[in-house]
Amino acid sequence: PKRVLPERFKSYKGVWVFIEHEHGHVHPVSWELLGKGRELADKLGVELAGVLLGGMGEAVRELAAEVGAYGAELCYLARHPVLEDYRNQPYTTGLTELVDTYQPEILLLGATTQGRDLAGSVATTLLTGLTADCTGLDIDPSDRSLLSSRPTFGGSLMCTIVNLATRPQMATVRPRVMTMPARRPDRPLRVVEHGLQLDESAVVTKVLDFVPDVRADKPQLPFADFIVAGGRGLAKPENFTLVTRLASTIGAEVGASRPAVHAGWADVERQVGQSGKTVRPKLYIAAGISGAVQHRVGMEGADVIAGINLDPRAPIFDFANYALIGSAAELLPALERAFARRLAE
């Protein structure tokens, strides 16, 4: 049966991006989404807005200007002491009220711990559809609906999900999936300040403490320029250390496919793919990785991809630049020698 959009949703207009920040740091995924949001808004011929909720400090107001620099013409700003730290309940109340008041047709959030926490709550409160972890977003010109694509389960297929029944159409996107737009501080921006009636005594959950991560002790895979990754084809932990050795020879970070992580060869922080990290290095060397779609969506943004695989018909070669056919156990040490010689020159 063909679904039609109920009449009351037809007034919903505009593309919104939720601007996520924690302790003064904006999550870069918000800017990436403004880049994608700009494209969608242009296709629809509507405005792009960033939505910013936060505490009373000046910092939040300054962030609003950045929303313009990354491509939005409009910023909805809601400041309140209760919104100082991210908490589900007041942020859900605030964002839901903004949506009900200004009625955007599309609302995008980062698929981060904050974005997923909030998106699920807001979508349920609004009783609207939410597509998780999209790897592609587009507009269907025939009915102006949002086309959200993501990998399907277990296969090497993608699916496109639409919401033809409710508004706004909501979607989350993981960091680094969309490209970072250029920052242009001179763009004009309208700021709409919205007063929220919130009350601390009505907020049940209190923040007792925030312990920032020690940056240095976590691999910064999403921002690495060079990555050497290993998969199930390596067959044993000793072979995975060949990946680590090549990586250290060329100054690369180590990545892994999900089976390699499950086997305990690499830390979960190093998993690349749909349920791991999305990376955009200059060079990605994949050893013993078949190139399943869930892995591919996490790394196909790399400038150059080289696959090492016994099987010349492995799916990785459908999208890699270079095919090294052979056993990773032999090719990885050979590469280490070749790179070492080259780098010594």
């Binding site: 904050q114 998106a119 699916c159 959950t205 089976p259 749909q274 080289a306 999208f319 270079y322």
Partner: protein, 270 residues
């Protein structure tokens, strides 16, 4: 204290094979497992039971064979299991799933008040992490996602303190019961079922609830109640240019040829 744990039966992704020609999943014969993330949630509930003697009810919405997943949870130490099953529930997206689960939890709560609800962080099939937040909103409970540790739990004072993985750090949150907690993987070490546990589970009854047992509106369940629909399924687009095969007699020859070619094609990499 009464704890509800929501679990989902999922295909064991490690065993899934894709048909080499049609690119579709070969589902036949793929064994199913309890969603691995949900086992961390169950384990956390079991630890609370070990300390306080809490009662644990596990629930799942799914087809008849999902009973197997519930039995696994019983064998690990859950006290009671409920299978929420009805043909009208199939095809549900996360909005319709949280509606049915919340309705079942309300029904259960009316019988034995629930203090704490656990879910996994996400599933390995749908992988959306949207059902936990959906349940909390529908029940009007506090939502605590990505919890790595429960620091304090006071059923009489009705409060809970948790560590939550936030962006760029760990939030320590104090909240009130009843709350919905979604547990992070690796937050605890999982136990194995012992023989007596397995025998107990095999004999125990798994209750079956349908649309009438939980009083749901048909327009809000299953495919009908799901705003998101899959419009199209397609294969990933192959690149216009095929991968360049690097040839060589030995691994060292291939490696040398590759490094030369790489830096010749992409001088900026040096």
């Amino acid at each position: 204290m009464h704890i509800a744990v929501c679990i989902k039966q999922v295909p064991d992704s490690a065993q899934i094979r894709v048909h080499p020609v049609t690119n579709t999943i070969m589902r036949q014969g793929v064994p199913t497992i309890v969603n691995p993330y949900d086992l961390f949630a169950l384990e956390e509930a079991l630890r609370i039971k070990d300390r306080t003697g809490a009662r644990i009810t596990v629930l799942t919405m799914g087809p008849a064979q999902a009973e197997e997943a519930l039995r696994k949870c019983l064998s690990l130490g859950a006290d009671e299991a409920i299978l929420i099953t009805d043909k009208v529930f199939s095809g549900a997206d996360t909005l319709a799933t949280s509606y049915v689960l919340a309705a079942a939890l309300k029904t259960l709560d009316a019988r034995t008040p629930i203090d704490l609800i656990f879910t996994g962080k996400q599933t390995i099939d749908g992988d959306t992490a949207q059902v936990g937040p959906g349940i909390a909103i529908r029940l009007g409970c506090q939502l605590l996602t990505y919890v790595s540790k429960i620091c304090e739990l006071e059923p009489t004072a009705r409060h809970i303190v948790v560590e939550r993985r936030a962006e760029g750090g760990v939030q320590v949150l104090k909240s009130a019961l009843p709350a919905v907690v979604t547990m992070l993987e690796g937050s605890n070490e999982l136990r194995f079922a012992d023989m007596p546990g397995m025998f107990r589970a095999a004999r125990q009854e798994v209750q079956r609830w349908n649309r009438d047992s939980i009083g749901v509106e048909l327009a809000q369940v299953g495919l009908k109640g799901s705003p998101t629909v899959v419009a199209q399924v397609f294969g990933p687009r192959p690149k216009a240019v095929k991968a360049l095969r690097i040839d060589g007699e030995t691994p060292d020859a291939i490696a040398e040829a590759f490094v030369d070619k790489l830096f010749a094609d992409h001088p900026h990499l040096e």
